[in-house]
Symmetry: C2
Subunit: 480 residues, 2 copies
Amino acid sequence: MLDRGKVYERIERDVSSHIDRLISFIRQPSVSPQDFGVRDAANLLSEMASNAGLKDARPVETSGNPVVYAELDVGAPLTVLVYTMYDTMPADEPGWSVDPFAGTIREVDPFGATLIARGAVNTKGPLVAFLNAISSIVESGQEPPVNIIFAAEGEEELGSKHLPEFIRAYESELRRANVLFFPSASQNSKGKAIVTLGVKGIVYFELELDGKEWGRGPTEFGIHGSNKAWVDSPTWRMVKALSTMVDDTGNEVLLKGFYDDVSVPSQEDELLLSRLAETFDEAEVKERLKVERFIYDLHGVEALRKYLFSPTLNINGIWSGYTGPGSKTLLPNKITAKMDIRLVPDMQVERAMQLVRRHLDELGFSEVKIRQLEEGYSWARMSVNSPYTKALLRSFAEFGVEVEVWPTMAGSAPFSMFAAPPLGLPFIDGGMGHGGLAHSPNEYLVIAEGGPTGGLISMEKSFVAILDNLSQLQDEPFSK
Amino acid sequence: MLDRGKVYERIERDVSSHIDRLISFIRQPSVSPQDFGVRDAANLLSEMASNAGLKDARPVETSGNPVVYAELDVGAPLTVLVYTMYDTMPADEPGWSVDPFAGTIREVDPFGATLIARGAVNTKGPLVAFLNAISSIVESGQEPPVNIIFAAEGEEELGSKHLPEFIRAYESELRRANVLFFPSASQNSKGKAIVTLGVKGIVYFELELDGKEWGRGPTEFGIHGSNKAWVDSPTWRMVKALSTMVDDTGNEVLLKGFYDDVSVPSQEDELLLSRLAETFDEAEVKERLKVERFIYDLHGVEALRKYLFSPTLNINGIWSGYTGPGSKTLLPNKITAKMDIRLVPDMQVERAMQLVRRHLDELGFSEVKIRQLEEGYSWARMSVNSPYTKALLRSFAEFGVEVEVWPTMAGSAPFSMFAAPPLGLPFIDGGMGHGGLAHSPNEYLVIAEGGPTGGLISMEKSFVAILDNLSQLQDEPFSK
C-alpha cells in the first residue's frame, strides 16, 4: 500500500525544484508545426524521465519526430500506459504579453502565481507534473503502485502523423497495458473538475485551387488585377466551391450523407447531458472563450448537445493573393483553405474524406484539390460506469472538488488511436489544476495553491492519487 | 524648330550615364504600401528633375506622400502636364530571381540587356527616361518645344489617395496645361506599340467580418477549432456573403444594378475593336500572363470586348486564421478580403460602393463591414481623332513600328483625375520601349536596342518626338 502522505509531503517540500523543472522544459521550444527544437526537447525529456525514476527512457525513432518511451515494472497487477505529448503549437501569433518560451510566472487574478507560456497547459505543464509525481513517489522511498509504460509523442500538433507507426512497432509492449492515462489539468477557472469520457475524431486537410492544375486563371503567379475582366479567378471559384459545403449560417454541413452515420446520443449520454446542464457554467465558458453567444442562440442542454454530439466542418485558415497593407491589385493564381472535420460516433475518417471529394465532383468543382495532411483519427468513448472512470472520479472526490462529468469532449485527442483496434485500450484523462488558452496567445497554467483552483502541487498529488486509486481496482475485473 | 538629330545624338552618347541614373533611382526604394523609402525617393527625384533642367523642382506636401512638382516655361504656345509616379508596389512576394532593389541588368532572350527590378517599368524606368530626354534637349543647346509642368505623385500604388488634394491646391498652375502626357513603355514583347485611348475607373475596398462587431463567433482571438460545434464562424459566414456577389464562374457580378450604367461600346469603339482584333496577338498576351485560356474560352474580338468594356469585381487577396504549415485547429475571429471594382463608362464610384452595401444588407449580411481604402477614380476616354492622339500616333510612325490602337485599357490610372472636372484635360499615354510583370516578381524593362523592342535610347528619343509632335499642333485647335 502506497503511503500517499509521505509522497505528498515530498511534493510540498520540493515544489520550487519542480517549478524549475517545468520552466526549463518550457524554455526548450518544441514547436512541431515549425520543426523548432523538437529533437532537443525529446532528448531533454528522456533525461527528465530517467531522472524521475523511469527505466530505459529513450527517444524511439519514427519516420517523423521520436516518441519518448520509458517503463517502470514494479510487478504490480495493473499496468498503466501514460500517454502524453511533448510538442506544442507555434507561438508567433500576435497578442502575447510575454515571451512565450521564457517561462514567465506572473500574478494573475484570481489564481495567484501563473505560468504564461506556450505549452503551459498543452501539455508541458501536466507532463512535467506527472514526472514530478513519479520522482516524488520514488524519493519518498516507495514504488509506484502500478507498472508504468510512458509514451510521449512529438507530433500531436501535427495530427500524430507517425503515432500509428509507433503503435505498430511497440504493439507487444503496449499490449501489457490495462488502461491508458493521459495526465491533464481538469479544473475550470472556478475549481470544478471537468471529467470527459470521450473525444471526437478528426481529419485535417487542405483544399486548394491552383490555376495551373485548373487550366484556368493565372497559372504561375498572381497577375495584374485588371485581367480579371478576361481571366478566371481561382479565388472566386474556390469561394463558390466552399460556399456549397455549408448553409448560410455556416453551421449545417451540406455534404451529402455527412450526418448519415451520426448516432443518436445514448440513454447514458442523455442522462449525463441533463446532469451536466445543471452545473454547466455557461457564463464562465463564454468569458473564457470571449464568445457572446452560441450558434442559434442556444443555451444549456441544447448548446451542450450541439457542442458534444455534432460533427463539424471548420475552416481553420484561408489565404490567397495580396494580404499586405494598401491596395495592390492582383488576380491571384491560387487559394488554399485549411479545413477539418470533427467526427462523432459512428463516423469514419475515410468515409468523411470520400464525402468531400464526391461533393466537390458532383457539383462540378473537380478542379479543387484535397490534400489530406495526416491519417486522421477516430472518436473514442468510455462509460461513466467503467472501473477506470470510477477510480478517476474517486480521486477528485478525495480532493474535495466538485466534479462535472461530460459524456465526451468536443475536441480530439490521438489517444483514441490506443482505444481503437488492435489495442482497444480503455482510457482516462485528467487531474487537478487549471490552465487555458491552448493554441492561443497567453496560454497559461496556474502554479499557486490557494486560489479558486489547484496549482502545481495539487496537480502532482492528484496524479499520485489517480495511480493509487487505479491500483485499488485489483479486485474488480479490468474491463474495458 | 527643335533639331531632333542633335538631341538624339546626345541621347546615344550619354546612354551609359542615363542607365546609371535609372539604376540609382531603382536603388532608392519607394514602396508606398509599406511606407518604405518614399520620402527619400521624393527628395532624390526633385534633385534629378532639377539636374535635368526643370525649374523650381520640389516635393509638394500633401496629407500623404509629397508630389514632386517642377515647371519649365519656354514661352511655347502649348503646355504639357507630364504626370507620372515615383512610388512602386512592394517586392516581398516569392519568385524574384534577383534583389528587386539592386538594379540588376541581365541578358534576357530575345531582348538583350534588361533591367529586372521593382519599378523597372512601373514607373521608374519611363520616369527617368523622360528626365533623360529633357536633359538631352537642354544639353544639346536647345529648349523643349513645349512648356512643361511636371508632377510625379508618390501614392499611385495607394490609389492616389491625396492626388485630389494636390489638384485642388495647384488648380491654377494645372489649368495652364493643354494636355496631359503620361510617359510609358508602349511596345509589346514583339515590338508593336500598343496605344490605349482610355482607362477604366477603380475603387478599392476591404470587406471584413469580425466576430467582435458581429456579436457572433470568437470576438477577440481565434479559439480552439473544436468550438466550431457551438460557436459561429466569421470565416464561413464571409464565404457565404462573398459567394452571393458573383455567379458560379466568378465572372458575372450579381450585385443588383451593377451593369445598369454600363454603356454599350460606341461606333468608334466597335470600329477600333474590330481593327484591333485583326492584329491582336492573343498568343503573346497569354504567354506573357501565363494564362492558358480566357473566360468562357473566348477568343479574338469577344475576348477583347470583355476585357475592355466590362466592369469587374475582383478579390485581390483574402485571409483568415492559421495560414502556416501543419494542422493547427482554429476557429478564427476575423476574415478580410481585399476587393476592387473596375468601372467602365458610365459607372460612378460612389454608386458602385452603394451597390455593394445594399447587396450585403438586402441579403442579410449587414455584419460584413466595408472599408473603402481611398476615394477611387473614374474611367476616362479619348477619341482616336483627337489632335493629341494623332501626335502620339505620328511619333510611333516615325519610329517605324507597327501600332495597335486600343479603345481603352483594362487597367486604371489616376491621370483620369485630371481628365475629370474641374480640369477636364485631354491626355495621351505612351512611348517606345518594352517592359512587363508590373506588380509581379521579376518586373522588367528592356534596356538594349537591337532586339525585337526598343530599349532605353528609343524610349528617350520617343519622348522627345512626342513633345515635338505635340508642339506642331500649333495650327490645330487645342480641342479636348
